[in-house]
């Protein structure tokens, strides 16, 4: 009996947790303007979403989200990988300082990160737009790259790098041919994490996008919702995002599971 209640409780919570998402999913297959009205099953919203039947600004916002996500995660991954190797070789006070600074963007609430960067760009006098959003995204993604790579570096045998140098490799060659292959799973995990965080971000983007009309998906949805009522096309879009995030999560999990296994193997 106790077991039954425990189980029922878990399933009740899950139902509540997923009810809103399910409703969006279900109503992405009907065309009604107002959510909750069922006017028959149709794929029309999906076809109009993918065939450009929706407004230009939505297409532009999707493009921005994707390009910012890709560029920011490439830069974060490079910056974070090089930094992680450096930090791994640091000792004492300097290491503590940089790791503390690295923690700040992860612990700070979004709104504080957003406002602080906004004030930075104002103080320096940079017009805010695409580039400032990119810089902001790199600043909150890179710490996660560093943290995904550090454990892999700790597992690595440091002598292999020295051996490569002794055998005549330049430091860059040794990095590319010896270190990178060994920490690759960490790099991939860092890249995917960065991309997920970037396309997911709302608050930081809102503060750093300036007033030149730049929008990412999040800020577009926000503006749209504030005008009252969602554009019906956003329902299939949200469903697609949900499925994509789901897929990315499965990939992240598989990678980190594999990482864990190799950790267990080495120790």
């Amino acid at each position: 009996m106790k077991k039954f209640f425990a189980k029922a409780y878990i399933w009740l919570l899950l139902t509540l947790l997923y009810a809103p998402i399910l409703i969006i999913l279900i109503f992405s297959f009907t065309e009604a303007k107002v959510l909750g009205n069922w006017t028959g099953f149709t794929f029309n919203l999906y076809t109009s979403l993918f065939s450009g039947g929706v407004s230009n600004s939505l297409i532009k916002a999707i493009e921005n989200t994707l390009t910012i996500g890709i560029i920011a995660s490439i830069f974060s991954t490079i910056l974070g990988t090089v930094a992680a190797v450096g930090i791994y070789n640091m000792r004492g006070f300097r290491k503590k300082t940089i790791l503390l600074l690295n923690d700040i963007p992860m612990l700070n609430p979004d709104i504080i990160t957003g406002i602080s960067l906004f004030i930075l760009f104002i103080a320096v006098g940079i017009t805010q737009g695409y580039v400032t959003v990119l810089l902001a995204h790199i600043s909150f993604c890179t710490p996660y790259v560093v943290l995904s790579i550090m454990p892999k570096l700790k597992q690595m045998n440091p002598n292999t790098y020295e051996a490569a140098l002794d055998l005549g490799a330049t430091p860059f060659q040794a990095f590319r041919k010896v270190i990178v292959p060994q920490i690759r799973p960490g790099i991939v995990l860092g890249f995917i994490l960065s991309f997920t965080l970037s396309i997911d971000d709302f608050a930081v983007t809102l503060f750093t996008k300036g007033n030149q009309g730049l929008d990412t998906l999040s800020t577009f949805i926000y503006a749209d919702a504030r005008k009252g009522g969602l554009t019906p096309e956003l329902r299939p879009l949200m469903s697609v995002i949900f499925i994509v995030v789901l897929a990315l999560l499965v990939v992240i999990n598989l990678i980190s599971k594999r990482n864990e296994k190799t950790i267990g193997h080495n120790s």
């Binding site: 809103p20 998402i21 930094a83 070789n89 709104i111 602080s116 104002i122 949805i221």
Partner: protein
């Protein structure tokens, strides 16, 4: 070996410019007026503006209620998850963690959709439900993690020594899961106190939270006042994180999601 530590230099400079400097700038802006002169006026204004103070207190109340509800609902869930057959396949555990990764706005709008669908009014009740809905996974995950790692022989020992189930729970399980509870409290309290869009969308702008006040001031060009308010929020958050003294950061454990 030492030469390679200089590889971190570019990132160190990047962190100084984009992480440390912006935070220093918030403090500087908070203590200056529009012309750059030193002043306490921004804080005096905050103390005298009744509406802002009310919003501030109200936001703390909402954050506390949300955190308490999340703990009340989340702890039993985490406990059941770590103790039952759910724990073996991990699929159900994963289902609880998944929503953490879905855009907060999308989740909020989905809640709005649910309220629309059920024809419920969008008022304070909606706000609290929406917040709990949004942040519950952040409470369950760290508590589940500590409970899962906990050595079960402690509670068995307590049982053998004559403790009844209630005593085992209050004297052994809860104290041992404190690290999880405190990081869960942090992970819920921090975003709820600092949220702005969530409240706006859930209540159709009927209820205003402190985050919205800050955002409005920044948007209207009152950067110094906005910075002062942001600094106040930052201090509140710093105080709570000192209290909860996060021993275990769920995210830095690095072991993936489950």
């Amino acid at each position: 070996m030492n030469k390679r530590s200089s590889w971190a230099l570019p990132y160190f400079i990047f962190l100084l410019i984009f992480v440390a400097l912006p935070l220093v700038l918030i403090a500087i802006y908070a203590f200056t007026d529009a012309d750059g002169g030193f002043t306490f006026a921004n804080f005096v204004r905050f103390a005298q503006e009744e509406e802002t103070i009310n919003t501030f207190v109200y936001s703390i109340e909402i954050a506390l209620i949300t955190t308490a509800l999340c703990l009340l609902l989340g702890y039993p869930a985490a406990w059941i998850l770590s103790n039952s057959e759910f724990n073996r396949s991990k699929v159900v555990v994963m289902l609880f963690i998944l929503p953490m990764w879905i855009n907060m706005l999308i989740r909020t709008l989905a809640t709005v959709a649910l309220f629309d669908f059920l024809r419920l009014p969008q008022a304070q009740g909606a706000l609290i439900f929406g917040m709990v809905y949004n942040f519950l996974p952040f409470m369950i995950y760290p508590i589940y993690n500590t409970l899962n790692k906990m050595d079960k022989s402690y509670s068995e020992a307590a049982q053998d020594l004559g403790a009844n189930p209630v005593q085992v729970f209050t004297k052994v399980t809860v104290p041992l899961s404190m690290p999880g509870i405190s990081s869960g409290v942090m992970m819920v309290f921090m975003p709820t106190i600092s949220t702005f869009a969530v409240a706006e969308l859930l209540t159709m702008n009927k209820v205003k939270l402190f985050g919205t006040t800050i955002q409005e001031n920044i948007n209207n060009g009152m950067w110094n006042y906005g910075a002062a308010l942001a600094l106040i929020m930052l201090i509140i958050i710093a105080i709570t994180s000192l209290y909860t003294d996060e021993k275990e950061n769920a995210e830095s454990s690095g072991g993936g999601l489950i």
